[in-house]
Symmetry: C2
Subunit: 247 residues, 2 copies
DNA sequence: GTGCCCGTTGTATAATGCACAACGATTGAC
DNA sequence: GTCAATCGTTGTGCATTATACAACGGGCAC
């Protein structure tokens, strides 16, 4: 049980550095963690000596270090699901013409772990590493509906007027999602952006992620929706089939 | 001076987890750091409780956690150079037809922090977060030649028969790079891949990064080299100009 | 079933991180 | 230009805390 306190503080400092827009000063950091300046200074120095933090030579303020970017990449390249899904994401993009994404459940949201951008000039781009809410994105809904580990969100924040904010409505919506086998985000997270997503299962039948497309509502029209859903479902099923032979 | 020991150990554990291909066990980790199993267990538990590590429920082995990917993204989005460079990277890709990259000096190499992929089916893709050697890549050479903070590599590892492995040759080569204002990697890092890069300077005249293109040697032919170099130099200069008004 | 190896947990001791304080450096106001 | 205030860093004694040792419980192979 017992956490290592100073390691925990160091990690909290990393999160604070991440939140700070233009870096953070030692005094400021110490205040937020309610620890002494000297402790904060030494902790951040340690982070810096391993490349996890960096000091601006001019302002003496600290920010996140480059080592994190490196680690992130090695983590992503070590993710088997990502390798398996890549060609299917490409196909999904080519057949629909829209940006394709792969997400997993993480940190109470949908974590985007890979993408294939659409060549169209007008494109909805959600970068790898983003955590999107579960209740108003297609990938999120797909995870929420099919992944047993997903916690039903306690707060349904409204991002647009179309966002579903009532738990009952969302539950009904998720039932429908399960029945039809794919999830839709109809401008519920961002104005003018529609998304479609389907879950992906591993050899044990457990949902391990979701793939989907995302694009301007003008191109992903309501008339094309069922056609695009069919394509997405097919490719999702193919990926699931591929993952069935992995144990 | 004095490092916080347990934080340092936690960070070392992160690096070990990054190196481990298929996750790592506690005993194994403890052995590599020469600490007790119990310490390693508690440290990794702390990492896990903040999402920096993750335990496979089946094998009980640990691997890197998803929080790192999130942090990496926030760090990249907070990097001003990246925002400034993005449109220039796009232009570079459009005018040359090759994949364009932005790199900074970090961890003794060239850290790729952004890219715009070529639409061509045959493309050389080096993902964001990769650290490439300085002596045999165009971006690396550009940084090595123009960034005063760059340390001359102690070991010049040969990746292909064309890799420059002699320090004297490399110094002469870097002099030439400085004179002509752009760097070339002629299949010195990867077979069949040629790259071109130019440094980018901030308002103080200090090199803060490099941008360049990378593609199959068939398309980046030696005849087109000077033409492509001119384009890259021009766009690099434009980005440098843009950064001059930032203080 | 039995022995082995793994990850986790309890505990006393000693090492380590912490609070307080002082120091140099930088910034801003007058 | 001078002074004061603030910031980040560094020393140091004390007390908290991380650690090593040991024991435990579970999974796996034989």
């Amino acid at each position: 049980m017992s956490e290592i306190k100073s390691l925990a503080r160091g990690l909290k400092l990393l999160e604070l550095l991440a939140q700070a827009e233009n870096g953070a000063g030692i005094t400021e950091l110490a205040g937020q963690l309610d620890i002494d300046k000297s402790s904060a200074s030494r902790l951040v120095q340690t982070l810096a000596s391993y490349g996890f933090a960096e000091q601006d030579p001019d302002t003496r303020r600290y920010k996140l270090g480059p080592r994190i970017v490196t680690l992130s990449r090695t983590m992503l390249t070590r993710m088997p699901l990502r390798d398996e899904a890549k060609p299917f994401l490409r196909r999904l993009m080519e057949r629909t013409g829209e940006g394709a994404h792969l997400a997993i459940l993480s940190q109470g949201g949908a974590l985007y772990v890979d993408q294939v951008e659409s060549p169209a000039t007008l494109r909805a781009t959600t970068g790898v590493g983003t955590v999107a809410p579960l209740h108003c994105t297609a990938l999120g809904k797909a995870l929420l509906a099919f992944d047993a580990h997903a916690h039903f969100p306690t707060e349904l924040k409204a991002y647009t007027p179309r966002t579903i904010t009532s738990p009952e409505t969302l539950r009904v919506h998720l039932d429908q999602t399960r029945r039809q086998g794919y999830a839709v985000d109809d401008e519920e997270y961002e104005y003018g952006v529609r998304c479609l997503a389907v879950p992906v299962f591993d050899y044990r039948g457990k949902a391990v992620g979701a793939i989907g497309i995302s694009g301007p509502a003008g191109r992903i029209s309501l008339e094309r929706l069922s056609e695009l859903a069919a394509i997405t479902r097919t490719i999702g099923q193919e990926l699931t089939d591929r993952l069935s032979f992995k144990p």
